[in-house]
């Protein structure tokens, strides 16, 4: 590896901070709780991080185009609720159940995207509204209570263990991450997404259909929130309103810790996954140590601020 490669690695402050943070937390938690550093615990971390990872990867895609979505938690609950209601009351086959629920999630993405690209309403405001609307719909269709997911085949697909001890949600996470990484780095759509977020006017002048790019990313984001709902619903074997509580902050923090910018044009699938892993270690470590969940939030917020500060200092060329 030449000097240029080494320089690029050293300039990649996000990766250095994330890896350093992971190593530091592993040392810290394993010092206080020996069970932390075991294969079994590693498996648990991977399984519990899968929902967060899928949500964060969808949000990362939107951030790259310069947009944002805060309705993803409601969409997660919406898709899980549709599955639960269909499996409990209509007993359709699994494929049809998944399709209908996914279409519901995609529909929210389309509506969000249309309001943003056609009416040019800021995406934060559009998705703030849709979060409330979809969340309200979930409350009504679930009648304010949990609904069982009675479809065993569905549960096996999204949280079964057909190959050894690792749940299928981990494979879904890896598969989705690979597909998105491939889309963003190996296909022209990825370049168009980065260009749309980095300099929308320039992208348009170069003939890129920026509105269509954004709309597609909203659709993909909705779809991924739907899949996250399938995974979370399968893990809980039920759907209930507000089941996504606790995911909003880390799902938004992870892509930003991984290099995405609220201004658009930046973002990374591998680094988002690293950030999700770091945040999941915190959740796992706090739980193993028997600490209250509030400590998890404090730690997450602290690490987020540290990571952002280091990045900002680097860009101000102080470091």
């Amino acid at each position: 590896m030449g000097n240029k490669g080494l320089t690029r690695i050293l300039k990649d402050i996000e990766s250095l901070v994330l890896i350093g943070g992971i190593i530091g937390l592993v040392i810290l938690f394993s010092a206080f709780e020996p069970r932390f550093l075991s294969l079994e615990n590693f498996r648990i971390i991977l399984e519990t991080m899968s929902v967060l990872a899928i949500l964060a990867l969808g949000l990362n895609l939107l951030l790259i185009t310069g947009e944002i979505d805060i309705s993803f938690t409601s969409v997660l609950e919406f898709s899980a609720s549709i599955v639960a209601l269909i499996s409990s009351y209509w007993h359709l086959n699994t494929f049809l159940t998944v399709l209908i629920a996914l279409l519901g999630a995609v529909a929210v993405g389309i509506v969000n995207g249309m309001f943003v690209v056609k009416l040019r309403i800021p995406s934060f405001l559009v998705t703030l509204a849709s979060q409330a609307i979809v969340g309200g719909i979930v409350l009504i269709i679930c009648n304010y209570r949990a609904v069982l997911i009675a479809d065993q085949a569905f549960l096996n697909v999204f949280y079964g263990r057909p190959l050894g001890n690792v749940a299928t949600c981990v494979y879904w996470m890896v598969f989705i991450a690979f597909c998105l990484w491939f889309l963003l780095t190996k296909m022209k759509f990825g370049k168009w997404a980065f260009a749309t977020g980095g300099n929308e006017e320039a992208a348009r002048l170069m003939g890129i259909p920026t509105a269509r790019v954004k709309l597609l990313c909203f659709i993909l984001d909705g779809c991924l929130a739907g899949v996250a709902g399938f995974v979370l619903g399968s893990r809980a074997m039920s759907a209930r309103p507000l089941m996504s509580t606790g995911y909003l902050m880390p799902a938004m923090a992870a892509p930003i810790m991984g290099g995405a910018s609220l201004n658009g044009g930046e973002g990374s699938v591998p680094k988002t996954l690293l950030a999700v892993f770091l945040l999941s270690i915190i959740t796992n470590g706090v739980s193993l140590l028997g600490l209250e969940p509030a400590y998890r939030d404090i730690l997450m917020g602290t690490i987020l601020i540290i990571a952002l500060s280091i990045r900002q200092l680097r860009s101000l060329a102080i470091l």
């Binding site: 296909m187 022209k188 370049k191 980095g198 002048l205 170069m206």
Partner: protein, 251 residues
């Protein structure tokens, strides 16, 4: 409307181009020609109609009336893509580069080279794109630019080189390159670099240069057109007797 290709001394002709926005006439019966390997300067004060004229030539807007001919053949542009397909490229005032993308990504933005993987999946052909950029930059004398480097890390001159290379080294190869205010906000050294670029361009292309900078226009153009309130008020070859004061008096 395609007629028989006529022999024309002009690479491009604009005939009676008019553009109205309601009651406001931004351009009135603009008629001029652009010759082979010529640098034509279009100058004028704010509101003269320069930007409107350039937008029409590059296909961003359509004229209210009038015609454009390329090598004697009438053409109609419904979009910038149409103009590009007819060999008209533009180097924009702000260069239209994406700072967070690399040189290679910017160079091929919107026209990426792809190859099929597994017989159906179109993926970026990074090797072909890399070779294309290196060749282009070498021909412009900028082989030292790291094509993986982000545009934000390049100097002003290097960025301009990338923007010009992107406009020039493309398929189809452009007959005409439009340069919109290429010397604005540049130092004297930067301006000299632009003049070198223009000299490089006119070897193989015709250039239309839109500028407020009258000194720059006199230095680099072969012919100058002055627009005032949407009309051509002056047209002349650049010669020793033509001065900035003279141009100002006509604007």
């Amino acid at each position: 409307m395609k007629g028989e290709r006529k022999m024309s001394e002009f690479v491009m002709e604009c005939k009676n181009i008019t553009k109205s926005y309601g009651h406001v006439q931004a351009l009135k019966n603009i008629t001029f020609g652009l010759r082979e390997n010529e640098v034509l300067g279009i100058v004028g004060d704010n509101g003269a109609g320069k930007s409107t004229l350039i937008k029409i030539i590059r296909g961003a807007i359509e004229p209210t009336s009038g015609e454009i001919f390329l090598r004697g053949e009438r053409v109609i542009f419904h979009s910038p893509r149409d103009a590009m397909n007819h060999g008209i490229q533009c180097v924009y005032q702000d260069l239209a580069l994406v700072n967070k993308l690399s040189v290679i990504d910017n160079f091929f933005l919107g026209r990426e080279i792809e190859k099929d993987v597994l017989g159906f999946l179109p993926v970026l052909n990074e090797m072909a794109m890399g070779e294309g950029v290196l060749l282009a930059l070498r021909e412009m004398g900028y082989e030292e630019i790291d094509i993986e480097e982000k545009i934000s890390n390049l100097s002003g001159g290097q960025r301009q080189a990338v923007a010009i290379a992107r406009a020039v080294f493309t398929e189809p190869e452009p007959d005409i390159v439009l340069m919109d205010e290429p010397t604005s906000a540049l130092s004297e050294k930067g301006k000299q670099k632009v003049f070198q670029f223009v000299e490089f361009l006119k070897q193989k292309h015709s250039v239309i240069l839109v500028s407020h900078d009258l000194n720059a226009a006199l230095q680099v153009c072969d012919r100058i057109i002055i627009l005032k309130l949407g009309e051509i008020v002056f047209e002349s070859n650049v010669h020793d007797g033509l001065s900035v004061q003279q141009l100002i008096s006509l604007m």
